[in-house]
Symmetry: C2
C-alpha cells in the first residue's frame, strides 16, 4: 500500500474571467516545487508536485467561488508537522482569495502523526471522572504573586473544579516566576485534593521560548503536574508534539492565541481545520476556543465543526476534548451542556472572578454541572 | 528611568453606534488581565492593565475607523518575545475589526531584545561586499538528490551569487536528508569559492521541529555554514532568537511562509509590523518578502514600509536587509535596484531555473547587478 497523501480542499474566490483549473494547478506548483511547469525535471514533477484531484465551481456571481482539492504526497511532506502546515498554506497565504476549508488523509492518517497522548479517555482518567462534562477555570490575573495564585488554586480545587490552568498571559513575569508559581500552585491543589479526596489538576502555562522548554518541562514533571497549557501559534505548533512525546507525559490544553488572524472568510484557514485538526494532530488533548455569544467572533457553526473534528473517530489518533471558553457564565451553562454533551471541558473564568466569594461561586458552578448532568441522564 | 513600554496602535473598524473609548479600554483589559474592570485588585490594575494612550476617530461613514494607541508595560511583557506577540494580538485576534498598524517602544528598545546578530553590516562582511546590492537565489526543487542540489550550488557560487539558500520547502525529505544535503552543498560552495576567490554563502533551511533544532544547528556550524534560513511562523518566532544567540553565530534569513494569513485589511497585523519589526526584533538579519508585481498580493506601499522598518536606525538594534522575492526577473532588476537601493538582497529563483543554462543565467544576473550598480554610482 502506498503511503498516505494529504488532501487539502481550498475554497478559491476568483475574478469571473480566471480559469479555475489553471489556478488550482498554480497552487499545486507553488506549494511544492515553487517553480513554473517546465522549470524542473519530469521525474520531480511526477512525485513531488501536488495533484489536482478535483475542481468544482459552486457559484459565479460577482466572483467565482471554486472548490479545488489538491493532494500532497510523502515526498514533499516527509514526516514533518511544520512542513505539513507549510504545504497546506505557507506560500499561498501570501496570495489572496484562498481559504483552506478541509484537510484529510487518503487513505488514512500516517503513522508518524501521533496525535494526543491522553485524549478524551486519558484525560478523564487523570480527572477520575468517567462521564460528566469536565469544568476548567483559569488562574489570573497577571500581577498576582505566586502565593496569591496558589491560594486561588486551593479554593478552586476544594470546590472540585477539574482543571485549573494558568491564564495564557502568565509566563515568566517578575511578579510570579514560573518555577515558584508552579511549585506553590501544584502544592495547593495537592493539599486540597488530599483534604477532599478529589482529583483536581493544575496545568501551568508552558508557552515558552525554545531554549527553556526542556527545563520548564522538567519543572512541571518534577513538581508532579499531570498536564500543561500551551499556545501553539506563539510557541510553534511543534512544541505541542514535543511535549506530547515527553515521558512520562503531560496532558496538553492548547490555547488559541493568535489563531483569529487565520480565520478570514475568503482567505485563511477554517477554524475547524486549524483548531480541530492541526492542533489535535500535533497532540493537544483539549483545545480551547472562543464559544459563540461571548466576547469573540465565532459563529455556532464554527464551534460545532471544531467539536466534531476534535472528537471524530480517526484510526490511529486519539480524540481530543473541545474546550469552549471566552464568556461562558454559570447561569447559562446548562444549555451548553445540553448542546455540547459530556465530552466537553467547559472553561469558565471571568464569571467566577466577578463574584465576591470565589470559592462559593466555584462550588455552585460544580454543583450545577453535576445536578444538570444527573438530571439529564434520568 | 522606568523600563520601556510597548505602544501598539490598533486601527479599529467599529459599528457607528459603538463607543471607541470603551472599545479601546476593553482591548487593554483583554490583552493583559483578561478580566472585566472590577474583577481584579486595584494594584494589579495600575501596574498590569494596558494604558489607553490615545483614541482618534479618523472617519465615520459606513463604519467608524478609529486609531487607538495602547501601551503595555514590563509587568505584563516580561522579557519574553512570545508574550510580546501575545500581548500585541493574542486574544484580540479572535475578535474582529482590529488591525495592528504600528508598534514602538517608549522611550527605547529594552535591552533584552537583542535583534539581529549580524545585521546589514555583518552580513556584508560575510559576503565580502561592502556596497552593492546583494543577490540571493533559492536551491530547488524538493525531489532532487543532495548531489544534484550540490551541483546547482556550485554553479550558483561560481557565478558569484552572494547567498544560496535552501528553498523553504526543503526540510528533511527522504530524497535529500538535511545532513547529507548540507554537507555536500556547503562543500560545493567552498570549492567554488576556492576556485574563484569569491565569498558565496550557502544557507540551509533550519525550519525544524523543536527537538531537532540543537542537533541541526550543530550540523550547520560543523559543516562551516555561516548562515541559515528559517520560517519563523512555522517554527515559532522564538526559534530565530534562539539561532541568533548560538555561538559562534549563524546569519539568519527569515522566510514569510504563513504570514499572509495575518495581513487582512480590517483585521490582522500590518506587513511592516510583522515582517519589518517583529522578525527583526527576533533576530533576522534579512527578511524575505513577496515583492509587488509578482505572484503575491503585496502593494508597493507594503514593500516600502517593510524596507523602512528593517533598515531604520533604532538604538540597540542592528538593521536588517530587506529581501524582496517572489517573481523578480533578471530583466527588470535594474529598476528595482534603483528603487530599493543598495542595502537590499534581491532573491531571484524561478527566473534562473527557467533558463536552459543555469550557470550562464546566474553569471548574467550578477554582471547586470554589478554593471548597474557601478553605472548608478558614476
Amino acid at each position: 500500500m502506498s503511503e498516505p497523501r494529504l488532501r487539502v480542499s481550498y475554497i478559491l474566490t476568483l475574478p469571473i474571467g480566471d480559469d479555475p483549473e489553471a489556478r488550482a494547478r498554480a497552487i499545486a506548483l507553488e506549494q511544492t516545487v515553487e517553480l513554473p511547469a517546465g522549470a524542473f525535471p519530469d521525474a520531480v514533477g511526477e512525485s513531488v508536485v501536488g495533484r489536482v484531484e478535483a475542481v468544482e465551481v459552486s457559484s459565479r456571481q460577482h466572483a467565482q467561488r471554486v472548490r479545488a482539492a489538491i493532494s500532497y504526497g510523502p515526498e514533499v511532506i516527509g514526516s514533518d508537522l511544520l512542513q505539513l502546515v507549510n504545504v497546506v498554506f505557507g506560500n499561498v497565504s501570501l496570495q489572496s482569495g484562498i481559504r483552506v476549508a478541509a484537510i484529510d488523509w487518503m487513505p488514512q492518517t500516517p503513522p508518524w502523526l501521533d496525535g494526543p497522548r491522553f485524549g478524551i479517555e486519558g484525560l478523564r482518567e487523570l480527572c477520575r471522572e468517567p462521564e460528566r462534562p469536565l469544568v476548567a477555570t483559569a488562574l489570573k490575573p497577571v500581577g498576582l504573586a505566586p502565593a496569591e495564585l496558589a491560594r486561588l488554586c486551593g479554593e478552586f480545587a476544594r470546590a472540585g473544579i477539574d482543571i485549573i490552568k494558568d491564564d495564557h498571559g502568565l509566563v515568566q513575569q517578575a511578579t510570579a516566576p514560573l518555577a515558584d508559581r508552579l511549585a506553590l500552585c501544584q502544592e495547593a491543589v495537592a493539599e486540597a485534593n488530599a483534604a477532599t479526596g478529589g482529583a483536581s489538576l493544575y496545568f501551568p502555562n508552558l508557552t515558552v521560548e525554545v531554549p527553556s522548554l526542556e527545563e520548564r518541562l522538567a519543572w512541571a514533571l518534577d513538581a508532579g503536574c499531570r498536564g500543561c497549557m500551551v499556545s501553539p501559534l506563539l510557541s510553534g505548533l511543534d512544541t505541542v508534539r514535543r511535549i506530547a512525546q515527553t515521558d512520562p507525559g503531560l496532558a496538553i490544553l492548547a490555547h488559541p492565541a493568535l489563531s483569529g488572524a487565520y480565520f478570514g472568510t475568503e482567505h485563511g484557514v477554517a477554524p475547524e481545520v486549524l483548531l480541530g485538526q492541526l492542533f489535535r494532530w500535533a497532540g493537544a488533548d483539549g483545545v480551547i476556543y472562543p464559544n459563540v455569544g461571548g466576547r469573540f467572533a465565532f459563529r455556532q457553526a464554527d464551534c460545532d465543526a471544531i467539536n466534531f473534528q476534535l472528537r471524530s473517530e480517526v484510526a490511529g489518533l486519539r480524540s481530543a476534548f473541545p474546550v469552549p471558553a471566552g464568556g461562558l457564565d454559570v447561569q447559562s451553562l446548562g444549555e451548553w451542556v445540553d448542546r455540547y454533551g459530556s465530552d466537553t471541558i467547559f472553561l469558565i473564568g471571568g464569571d467566577l472572578y466577578r463574584r465576591a466569594d470565589l470559592g462559593t461561586a466555584a462550588r455552585q458552578l460544580m454543583d450545577s454541572v453535576r445536578r444538570h448532568w444527573v438530571a439529564r441522564r434520568h
